[in-house]
Symmetry: C2
Subunit: 517 residues, 2 copies
């Protein structure tokens, strides 16, 4: 329970800055209050009884508001406009939900639960992925006290990333030349409920793609890194999640998660501290929590029969003939035979690959593949056997591999509201240890944030970012970005900020004077 | 030894596509050839003897050239121009080497060995870092065979990141409104040798900084993420390294490394495979190698007396009173007392913080700090006791903490050319386990890539990227990006790519229609 800011009583005041010290249990069928629970305000379970003489202590944040209209001070004025111009239009084409851009070709889908999905993704004329989707998301909280110890939401299964998708607005959520795609979900009465502008598409410039200077001749060649971005944003009560797919000219595909919005807060006594939360403002405590996401990767690398490999890089043993200086190292590859989990090991430089063992790369003489670069993070903190743990089966391990089965899309089970466990990915695997080598397989990557709030996360949180990447690994015949045209001033039209006269070299672009030392 | 492309014999042909099968040992004092060694071409040490009847096998890459003028096909024509316009100028000011931007204030330095350095970095009026620098870089190769088993370069100690800094050209290496800074090194005769345009400075738009939609009123507030980028690029023979500092409005500072340029290659027989390298083209083998960097962080978080903490997030034990559902978790913080290494542990969600125990944040009631978010990677693969290992002391552990000492800047020792070990950071620490709590300390973060080349990395390599981040952790009183002005169409001037009429909502920016389901 929260209240509005008593100083402005505005409908857009951030009530998360003003948490109340009680919680109400309501029978939603009868719409009757069953019980009022006073919250603990100190460092332990102790709570003042309802009706006790202790009045609710008002909070007094340094800055309680995120809405600029309500902030204590006006916005800064130091920021100069920054505009992106594409005078000849976009480099991509959109035909319905079919998108083509720089050797990529794919279709976009959208549904109530998963929001944006990608289908039939091919690169350089070759199939890479059949279906890519965010499959689930669990947000358990770490405060061990009654009544908040139950708090844990499945934001996809309980709510839905499609139904909560923001209507993205020109000039607000994207920059540059923007194409919007609409989504659609189903209303209570079965009629279509459009989700206009649910996805925005635009290109970005992400610095340098590749460069080399021939130091013998001074000739430099530079190519810029253009990317295509598909973005969708969801609002789940206090939190916002931004999900972005980045397509790169090098054949890389990255899925970015940005967590922003507002911390879920609780009241706390003056000067009290708790071991499971941070004081983010006077009287306001933000409990530690986790955001655990699962990315479902249904690959089709050169076809549907794929394998999943873990490759370690390990030192060679000392050997008088073949490693006399102790400097040699090699790779050891293990291909997964049966459905199950795969552990990570950074100390071995472990790399995860989706391989097609039926298609050999004629250059490397090894199977074609795509590498999964995981976002490495802590798994579920709730105790094994707890309800949190039983219900969120996918949160135990960073990587799961299963054989493809119809209707297995949701790794915490189809129905997560008040679920009892036993219906998620761990249960599927324990029921059938299917063969997953050279078969139609699905890879499930669990990643997330253990979010122990900082004062800087209040009253609104700067986006916390994580990227999962999929990179071609001996999939092409050579660097697919080799033919990106050189970066030139005629094309880029940059401007030098200078007091001195413009550089003499600015016409003969990119030449590198030889060093004379 | 390499040859030019026999098909074009151009001075800018990529000779790395045409490796020869011998190596020459030269006495550099007498300039005399001492020995010619024939390279092994198969999967083991066996090499054909010099003068044997086996002729050198010519390589035949699918695409041997990266220079667009020499490539088999012309560049793609699908990419439309993308320009960045700042009509009112830059948001930063440059006064000599003093830069001020969005609550940040710092000075830029430059020298032969380290290239770009940062000094006296403060955020929001408060000291954060005294000096930030790339301190060393080691590139050992994994081919265990004579003569290449010796290959391993200290790119800073042996060569220098300042002396090899590229002269950055307008429209080639940066995009938008660019300010260049010149560097200077020393020539053989002691005279100044300018390194013009060694650093480029510009702003970028990196998507959304924060967003929240009040789902009760539909009011959305969005703020974009502007960043200031300082970039420098070095060419060390075949490889290019791009180093970038990103300053963020949220108080975050990120150091990005991009590895690009050309693989160091060796010849290989038709159809032969080796366990320590990849066939990247017909007859061309690229050996596995590592790039190990060390970032030196000399902090001054609220002053020079700082401490270094590792914080784990751990489950609470089951407890009838305080954790009856098994969902609770807390943090456990350990502060380093003596100079040494600090290990990582992702399974514990380990977070690394630089704290000032003398300055309490009045909101959180905990010390002010900055968090180090490391780039997690494999450490040195060469065997303990090998020359590689003895010479690259910093490559053993991801994090080192020392007490500040004058002239301790280079963690593989001051003189790395043909060094014998015993002069780097491990030696400093074993000589004196100084107290590092609440003292003038230095943090050294080793990170890198184990680079097992892909076919896609040839003939030129798409940039491989790694980021190390420094984020305020209870350093401010609230979100320092709270006062960034809202993202509006009037400011951003985006353009909708549309066949349908422009959205009705595009004037009333950012409002979010309430959902009616």
């Amino acid at each position: 329970m929260y209240m509005r800011n008593p100083k402005n009583n505005d409908p857009d005041s951030s009530h998360y800055s003003f948490p109340l010290d009680f919680m109400v249990i309501v029978d939603l069928c009868k719409m009757e209050v069953i019980k009022i629970i006073r919250l603990p305000l100190g460092s332990d379970q102790t709570a003042t009884a309802i009706g006790s003489a202790v009045p609710h202590r008002r909070t007094n944040p340094v800055e309680p508001e995120y809405d600029h209209r309500l902030q204590k001070n006006p916005p800064r004025t130091t920021l100069k406009p920054y505009q992106v111009i594409q005078p000849e239009g976009a480099s991509y084409t959109v035909n319905g939900y079919l998108i083509e851009w720089e050797k990529w070709r794919f279709r976009v889908g959208f549904n109530w639960r998963e929001g944006m999905t990608l289908h039939d993704v091919s690169f350089d004329g070759k199939s890479a992925f059949y279906r890519l989707s965010l499959s689930e998301m669990f947000v358990p909280y770490g405060d061990p006290r009654n009544p908040v110890y139950r708090k844990g939401a499945f934001d996809l299964g309980n709510v839905g990333a499609g139904v909560t998708a923001n209507n993205l607005q020109l000039g607000c959520d994207c920059l540059g030349l923007i194409k919007y795609l609409d989504g659609c979900v189903v209303a209570k009465d079965g009629s279509p409920a459009p989700r206009p502008n649910a996805i925005c598409i635009h290109e970005i410039d992400n610095g340098i793609q590749w460069k080399h200077t021939n130091h013998r001749t001074g000739k430099a060649t530079v190519v810029r890194k253009r990317q295509l971005v598909l973005q969708t944003i969801i609002t789940v009560a206090n939190y916002e999640y931004i999900f972005m797919w980045y397509f790169d000219q090098s054949g890389e595909l990255a899925f970015e998660t940005r967590a922003t919005g507002i911390l879920s807060t609780q009241p706390i006594d003056k000067d009290a501290k708790v071991a499971w939360g941070t004081r983010v403002a006077d009287g306001v405590m933000a409990p530690y929590h986790q955001h655990l996401f699962n990315l479902r990767i249904d690959p089709a690398v050169g076809g549907h029969k794929n394998s999943f490999a873990s490759t370690d890089t390990v030192p060679l043993p000392w050997d008088e003939d073949l490693n006399p200086l102790g400097t040699g190292f090699i790779t050891q590859q293990q291909i997964l035979d049966r459905a199950g989990t795969v552990e990570d090991d950074i100390s071995k430089g472990r790399v995860f690959k989706i391989l097609n063992e039926n298609v050999q790369n004629p250059v490397s003489l090894t199977p074609i593949g795509y590498k999964l670069v995981p976002h490495r993070s802590q798994m579920l903190l709730a105790r094994p056997g707890s309800w949190h743990s039983r219900r969120s089966e996918f949160c135990e391990s960073p990587i799961w591999v299963t054989k493809y089965k119809d209707r297995q899309l949701f790794p915490a089970g189809d129905y997560t509201n008040q679920s009892l466990g036993g219906t998620g990915i761990k249960s599927w695997i324990s029921e059938a240890r299917d063969s997953v080598r050279n078969d139609d397989i699905v890879i499930w990557h669990t990643y997330g944030f253990t979010h122990n709030p900082r004062v800087e996360d209040f009253p609104v949180m700067p986006a916390e970012m994580a990227q999962v990447r999929l990179s071609p690994y001996n999939f092409c015949l050579f660097n697919p970005a080799n033919d990106v045209p050189p970066s030139t001033q005629a094309f880029n039209k940059s401007v030098e900020l200078t007091e001195k006269p413009a550089s003499q070299n600015s016409s003969g672009c990119c030449s590198q004077p030889k060093s004379h030392l």
